[in-house]
């Protein structure tokens, strides 16, 4: 395994390229050690990101730093903006001009970007926005947290719109989802959010450097000057209520297509599970260990892991929970995704929650303890 120091002089993807020459079966897959923030950035570079705009904030700053070096190397656009407000609006302009754009921040900065996201959703402008979540509310802490789930999946900016949200649980998965996010953003002309957290951003993991390219599209809506064609206008303003309603209906038809076609989730040990943990992102790593410990104790536990947080994999979760005695959400929050779990199950199984907040991370033992108590009380109630 190659260890890449930060800032790296060797490129992870060049390590992959050298493997391509002599790759025979006895070579163990060459892996590199990368920080999540750096891996996400490099995945975007490989996927043909044309422009990056950002502002320093912990625990996301390495993403900005990586792009500051790599984008100019590739002859692409990098601007360190004066604020997150400016960064998202630079993204708006570049996207309108046809660029494939990445923007990243962490929770407080994401709040500032809510305005621009709403305008981009209304103007049908693709962009990929990475939120490396930290503890809140307010300035909060710089520790990893999942307290922005409701903001990401239910609202963010003002108005009647939705944004696909992808929740990677490992750095390798984050690399794949960056490319997926660009595909979704351009396929549906929408902003897409990657909801990571401070641990995913800061931790180093060995990853297979499978940074994949992504072909460029030739959209017919971009602004490049009205040369021998009618001028194009990209806007969210529709002053007449009839016009705005028609526009909003169009948006919601797109969201229905996304909900019908783009749901992603993963399951572990679900076949015989009658106790179900539901978790995404870093919390899913904790839940996975808890599942193993519960299995060691003879509890038939399984893990359901949503990858698209919006659209939430409700039907798949309902099926996975068929016959379950207990369903428990594990989150680094006071209980946000658990609301979607309850909505999905519609009372089909009792739903509980185990969470830590403020930058604290649940431990597998904590999860197992809560589950033991839940199981004991439900057995008592059954008597």
């Amino acid at each position: 395994m190659t260890v890449v120091d930060r800032p790296a002089s060797a490129r992870p993807h060049s390590a992959a390229a050298s493997r391509a020459h002599g790759g025979d079966a006895e070579d163990a897959p060459q892996r590199v050690l990368m920080k999540g923030n750096e891996a996400i950035a490099e995945a975007a570079v490989a996927a043909g990101c044309d422009a990056y705009f950002g502002y320093p904030i912990t625990p996301q700053a390495e993403l900005l730093e990586w792009m500051a070096r790599r984008m100019p190397e590739e002859g692409r656009v990098f601007v360190q903006a004066e604020s997150e407000l400016a960064a998202i609006n630079m993204a708006l302009g570049a996207s309108a001009a046809g660029a494939r754009v990445l923007v990243s921040s962490s929770s407080p900065g994401i709040s500032l970007m809510a305005e621009g996201m709403s305008y981009m959703a209304g103007s049908r402008l693709p962009v990929v926005l990475v939120n490396v979540m930290r503890g809140g509310p307010g300035l909060g802490s710089i520790g990893a947290a999942q307290g922005d789930y409701l903001q990401a999946t239910k609202g963010h900016g003002h108005g009647d719109y939705r944004v696909p949200v992808l929740g990677p649980s490992s750095i390798s998965e984050a690399i794949d989802l960056v490319r997926e996010a660009f595909i979704l953003a351009e396929r549906y002309r929408t902003p897409v959010m990657i909801l990571a957290d401070g641990i995913l951003g800061q931790a180093m993991e060995p990853v297979a450097p499978t940074f994949k390219t992504l072909a460029k599209r030739q959209p017919d809506w971009i602004l490049d000057g009205a040369d021998h064609r009618e001028p194009r206008v990209l806007k969210s303003l529709h002053l007449r209520p009839e016009d705005l309603e028609a526009h909003d209906i169009e948006l919601h038809e797109v969201y229905q297509q996304i909900a019908a076609n783009e749901i992603r989730w993963a399951g572990e040990r679900l076949e015989d599970a009658d106790v179900l943990l539901v978790a995404y992102g870093t919390a899913a790593r904790v839940a996975r260990t808890a599942v193993e410990r519960l299995r060691d104790e003879g509890v038939r536990a399984g893990l359901f892991r949503p990858i698209t947080l919006w659209p939430f994999p409700a039907a798949a979760l309902r099926e996975a929970a068929t016959g379950a005695r207990v369903v428990m959400a594990v989150e680094m929050s006071a209980g946000q995704m658990v609301e979607d779990v309850r909505l999905a199950l519609e009372g089909a199984a009792p739903v509980f929650h185990h969470g830590r907040m403020g930058g604290m991370v649940p431990s597998p033992d904590g999860v197992v303890d809560t589950m033991r108590r839940v199981l004991a009380s439900s057995e008592e109630a059954a008597r």
């Binding site: 609006n89 993204a91 708006l92 302009g93 309108a96 001009a97 602004l223 490049d224 000057g225 303003l237």
Partner: protein, 276 residues
């Protein structure tokens, strides 16, 4: 033939061709200066042959529908963010001509950070800053550029500088920045000043084509409805009072050796290789 050349002359009347880039009649109030500025922009871009490669970055305020009146590729901005949006457009499409069209509420209040930093970075786009000293669209409230003592719906007893501060001379402030290659203030108060306004807009787009730095033209304009005056009275106020408070002229044209006679930041923007 340009739009500035007469098409026909009959019975003492001279009829000029409408610029091709003016697509629809405007919906501005009688006596509002926006229509004049739109026409000047249409004439300049047409005369310079730039219409097919120009992207308009709109803003929020009375001119929010500028894209309905100018036949240009256009993108809307959130209130105050036009300079950031234009940065994104121009950085990705440096071969295009990009300009923002912003009022004084948009540029000088909510968009102050965006305009200052775009100017500081020397972004290669042009800013058309229409200053009528008031929030026209929302009902005539006080703007950062409202004159001291001026009555508005949110300064009903006149702007009191002790509590509501002084008018903000944005263009003079920006002209101190090394990234700003052209900064001028013009007016639409009378035909002579309208002609000079057109020259300034042309020069600003020339500077953009030279790829040297940021260019801004502040156009002093009217808001008869917001000012509570007739169109004629509004033009007189613009000439006699507003232009007195905001002097017109070229503050910076670095390509022609005009730079502000104000202290420049010293070592701060000199390269460390120059012997720090």
């Amino acid at each position: 033939m340009t739009a500035a050349e007469p098409v026909t002359e009959q019975e003492g009347r001279t009829i000029y061709r409408r610029p091709l880039l003016l697509s629809n009649p405007t919906s501005y109030c009688p006596g509002c200066g926006h229509g004049i500025v739109h026409r000047l922009l249409a004439e300049v871009l047409e005369e310079m042959g730039l219409g097919a490669k120009t992207i308009l970055v709109g803003s929020v305020g009375c001119s929010v529908f500028a894209y309905d009146f100018l036949a240009l590729d256009s993108v809307e901005s959130p209130h105050g963010r036009a300079a950031a949006v234009a940065t994104g457009v121009k950085r990705f499409r440096p071969d295009k001509v990009v300009f923002t069209y912003q009022g004084d509420g948009d540029l000088a209040a909510i968009g102050t950070a965006e305009i200052v930093h775009a100017a500081a970075r020397g972004e290669r786009f042009t800013v058309v800053f229409v200053n009528n000293g008031i929030y026209g669209m929302t009902g005539g409230q006080m703007a950062p550029t409202t004159l001291a003592g001026q009555k508005t719906t949110s300064s009903p007893r006149g702007r009191d500088v002790a509590t509501q501060g002084y008018p903000l001379p944005v263009t003079e402030m920006l002209s101190l920045l090394p990234g700003v290659h052209y900064a001028a203030r013009v007016s639409v108060a009378d035909p002579g000043h309208v002609g000079k306004a057109k020259q300034a807009l042309r020069r600003a787009f020339e500077v953009q084509l030279e790829d040297k730095g940021f260019s801004i033209v502040e156009v002093l304009s009217t808001c008869p409805v917001g000012w509570g005056l007739t169109p004629t009275e509004a033009m007189e106020r613009l000439r006699d009072i507003v232009m007195e408070a905001y002097p017109v002229g070229t503050f910076v044209d670095r390509g022609r050796g005009i730079a502000p006679a104000l202290p420049q930041p010293g070592a701060a923007h000199r390269s460390i290789t120059e012997g720090f």
